[in-house]
């Protein structure tokens, strides 16, 4: 494959250096562009899965709830060497489309080329991947195509694809003739499988990649080629792009409760125990999400918890034990339901609660802990800077002057809290914050507010004593030192979002992304009276 090596393959570099023509230096890893990916994709390089073919029974039994779809696909793909119309397999995410197709081809044991539009994220990489898989199969690569990147354009790709496919088909025919009846007949068809087709739409608005791929069958006009598309968006999403040359559609509906039960019961060492576990957890979780991937992530720690009181994991639970296990799990269940998909914090719960096994109070005590303390460290000046960013994001810029007097201190506003007008304004203000999100502000405003609140903090000691008796220690803050450094680290931590420059002023604008709860926590940790600085209070 010496010729192939000359084609630069590292995908990241390729898109950016499309104008640059010098071929990059070949390295051994470059030969197989997808060797780091999942096993199934790697195996497809030789056009077959190298795994042993499976029987129809195993195929169907390994996909609970998918029997009608699998049989339908098998019917439409047809018998050996039978031409086919293009198929479009669609259904929501995590409904087993890709794995079902790959296993179907393992069962059929026919040559195919798999190209996922998620991993091959640009037309060039996609074309490259398809041709490479075909040429590796055809054993004698076409002369002259290597080294020069000739299939940058769709027309060249189609030409080369046609040549490669004809070569591949001829090779298959030859082998079938030679081997006669000795080997299993794998047919003379080559199937092209395009996965994640929904992503094609977002690739390049100007390119014709969607109609090109969806009409590839019509353009090639080779009856020995079967095309299968896999998409998570419905066929109508492509109507605008393609016209009437639609593929035949097969719909993978989302799993029902029974299907999910069947899926989670597969390969369980103690099916009775797991079944009783599922009878507890599956229904409540099913109301939140129907995706297998998310459910399995949520169930794993819960099952650990469920099994904890058990000495023997292979025990067959009776009714009393089931109830006991359920009582044990119940508090964790509600916490987990509301923290679905946040795995790390769940594990921290576990470690915290390791000691006491009290049923009640798990969620409550945790809430209390988290609401009062910050679970990370930040320097004093970073906290002030973050708070001033929060204030700048929350308050309208026009009100700065009324909030801070010339000396930087807080003006004591006298407000009539009960008047209808201020109530109305408060409502509309809250509404606006809900709708618009945090406002953006220029650096100058942030620094000005920062100046104000730090100068207040320094002189606060005396004021605080008159006002409510709680005093903060008079530290000599080096608050204004390296503010910009702090700002950039806050940006890196994603507490402050640096957005593009304002079209009118031309300067970079910032936005504070933390929510109020967090801001209050930060303010508490430095005894800063945040609420008196916020406009709507």
């Amino acid at each position: 494959m010496a010729k192939d090596e000359a084609i630069p393959l590292s995908p990241g570099r390729k898109t950016r250096s499309s104008s640059q023509l010098s071929p990059s230096k070949p390295s051994p890893q470059n030969v197989y562009p997808f060797s780091s990916q999942t096993q199934s994709q790697e195996l497809i390089h030789c056009l077959y899965t190298s795994e042993e073919p499976i029987s129809l029974e195993t195929l169907i039994s390994s996909f609970p709830g998918r029997k009608p779809q699998i049989l339908e696909i098998l019917r439409l793909v047809g018998s050996l060497n039978s031409p086919m119309f293009p198929l479009l397999i669609y259904g929501g995410p995590s409904t087993g489309k890709t794995i079902a197709i790959l296993q179907i081809f393992r069962y059929l044991n026919r040559p195919f080329v798999y190209a996922g539009c998620r991993t091959c994220y640009s037309p060039r990489i996609l074309f490259d991947s398809i041709l490479r898989q075909l040429l590796l199969h055809g054993r004698n690569p076409i002369k002259g195509n290597s080294g020069t990147k000739r299939y940058e354009k769709p027309s060249e790709f189609i030409d080369l694809l046609r040549i490669a496919l004809v070569q591949g088909i001829n090779a298959l025919k030859e082998r079938n003739l030679k081997s006669g009846s000795e080997e299993v007949d794998r047919g003379e068809m080559i199937y092209l499988i395009f996965d994640n087709c929904e992503l094609l739409r977002s690739w390049d608005k100007n390119s014709n990649i969607v109609p090109l791929l969806l009409r590839i069958h019509e353009m090639l006009k080779i009856p020995e080629v079967g095309i299968i598309y896999i998409s998570s968006s419905t066929p109508d999403a492509y109507y605008l792009c393609t016209g009437s040359i639609e593929p035949i559609t097969i719909y993978f509906p989302d799993y029902t409760l029974e299907d999910l039960h069947g899926i989670f019961m597969r390969n369980q060492p103690n099916p009775k125990l797991y079944s009783s576990f599922l009878s507890v957890v599956l229904k409540p979780f099913f109301r939140v999400t129907r995706r297998v991937d998310e459910l399995s992530v949520a169930f794993q720690p819960l099952f650990q918890q469920y099994c904890k009181p058990l000495v023997d994991r292979f025990v067959v639970p009776d009714e009393a034990m089931k109830r006991k296990l359920f009582d044990n799990l119940q508090p964790y269940l509600t916490v987990s339901l509301n923290e679905l998909f946040t795995v790390p914090s769940w594990s921290s719960h576990q470690t915290k609660q390791e000691g006491d096994h009290q049923k009640k109070g798990i969620s409550k005590s945790n809430r209390k802990e988290t609401s009062n303390e910050l679970d990370f460290h930040m320097s004093m000046s970073a906290k002030y800077l973050l708070l001033s960013a929060f204030i700048a994001s929350r308050n309208p810029a026009t009100l700065d002057a009324s909030l801070f007097d010339s000396s930087g201190g807080l003006i004591n506003r006298k407000r009539n809290k009960n008047s209808q007008m201020s109530m109305d304004r408060k409502d509309s203000m809250a509404e606006q914050i809900l709708l618009k999100g945090p406002g953006s502000f220029p650096l100058e405003r942030l620094l000005a507010i920062f100046q104000c609140i730090t100068s207040v903090a320094e002189s606060m000691v005396e004021e605080e004593q008159y006002e409510n008796g709680t005093a903060i220690e008079s530290e000599s803050f080096g608050l204004t030192s390296d503010v910009l450094l702090q700002l950039s680290s806050l940006c890196n931590a994603n507490f402050i979002w640096k957005s593009g420059s304002c079209p009118l002023e031309g300067s970079t604008r910032y936005r504070c992304t933390i929510d109020e709860e967090m801001a209050v926590r930060v303010a508490k940790s430095i005894n800063f009276p945040l609420s008196s600085y916020l406009y709507r209070r």
């Binding site: 719909y251 409760l257 998310e294 509404e431 999100g437």
Partner: protein
């Protein structure tokens, strides 16, 4: 097995466009005969000509041209050569000076010179191409009769795939299935797959929309959701982050979408969204969803 062979034969015929469209050959006054006469005339008289075929997609424009060219290649061996240009493939700057239109015009201009002899056959499904005056002057229009032969082919292909092998007969189930596959309503399919919480969010959005609130985002949806939970005291009161995840699922399912793609810098909960389905569709989806209690809520 004989029935398998029969099925294979049927599939081959349906997939072969020259077989499917060969029916056109037999009608003497049809477009097939007209076009063939026109082209062969041009070849025998050694002049230039151009034709534009118009018609909806999948009515066999390309197939007819292919069949004619195959026949003419036999009739006039070594005289004609075929150059195929495809708008999808050859609209690049390198192929024509500026896009498709220019390519066509330069082709047509080249025909004015006497040194070359050619027939240009254009195929398009866009009837609005006729608005172009220049085309009107020079092109002979053939309107196509048949509508969607390729649709019928796909329907038959789907139906015969259900052939019963033992008896070798086609089944009624097959035809029913093929029909239902063609009449699928994708929005309802998508809606069927939604979880209860996702339905709640859709209902909240529908309520906001029906109150003529012109713009809403996840935060205002959450406010509505909380209001529903307070009013009806359901068991489906989930936390903010769980709802946000369900919200993301809905975006992934393309049941809702962001109003504006430019506001990427805002975090997801502030970006305004819109419902991609009508309230009738939502109502239908709720009714057909047996496990969903949301339908009890007056929305």
């Amino acid at each position: 097995m004989a029935s398998e062979k029969a099925l294979d034969c049927l599939r081959r015929r349906l997939c072969d466009s020259s077989f499917v469209y060969s029916a056109f050959k037999s009608t003497p006054a049809g477009n097939y005969s007209k076009l063939k006469f026109l082209i062969s005339n041009t070849i025998t008289e050694a002049c230039n000509n151009s034709v534009l075929l118009l018609g909806p997609r999948g009515c066999g424009k390309g197939a007819v041209v292919d069949m004619i060219l195959e026949e003419l290649k036999d009739e006039f061996p070594e005289i004609i050569s075929v150059v195929r240009l495809n708008g999808l493939l050859h609209s690049d700057d390198n192929f024509a000076v500026k896009g498709k239109q220019r390519l066509l015009y330069s082709l047509l201009d080249a025909m004015q010179t006497l040194t070359s002899q050619s027939v240009v056959i254009g195929i398009s499904c866009r009837l609005n191409i006729l608005g172009d005056k220049k085309f009107k002057e020079i092109l002979d229009v053939l309107s196509s009769v048949d509508n969607t032969i390729s649709n019928i082919c796909r329907f038959l292909y789907h139906a015969i795939s259900w052939m019963h092998f033992e008896s070798g007969s086609l089944t009624l189930d097959g035809f029913k299935n093929a029909l239902s596959c063609m009449q699928r309503q994708p929005m309802l399919d998508k809606l069927q797959g939604a979880s209860v919480l996702e339905f709640y969010i859709l209902v909240c959005m529908n309520r906001l929309g029906s109150r003529e609130q012109n713009s809403f985002n996840f935060n205002s949806i959450m406010k509505e959701y909380k209001a529903i939970q307070d009013a009806y005291k359901t068991s489906d009161n989930y936390s903010w982050s769980v709802c946000l995840r369900a919200f993301e699922h809905l975006i992934e399912r393309e049941l809702i979408s962001f109003l504006d793609n430019r506001m990427r810098s805002l975090s997801i909960e502030y970006r305004p969204v819109r419902l991609l389905l009508s309230s009738q569709e939502l109502h239908q989806g709720l009714k057909s969803n047996s496990f969903c209690p949301v339908s009890n809520i007056n929305y």
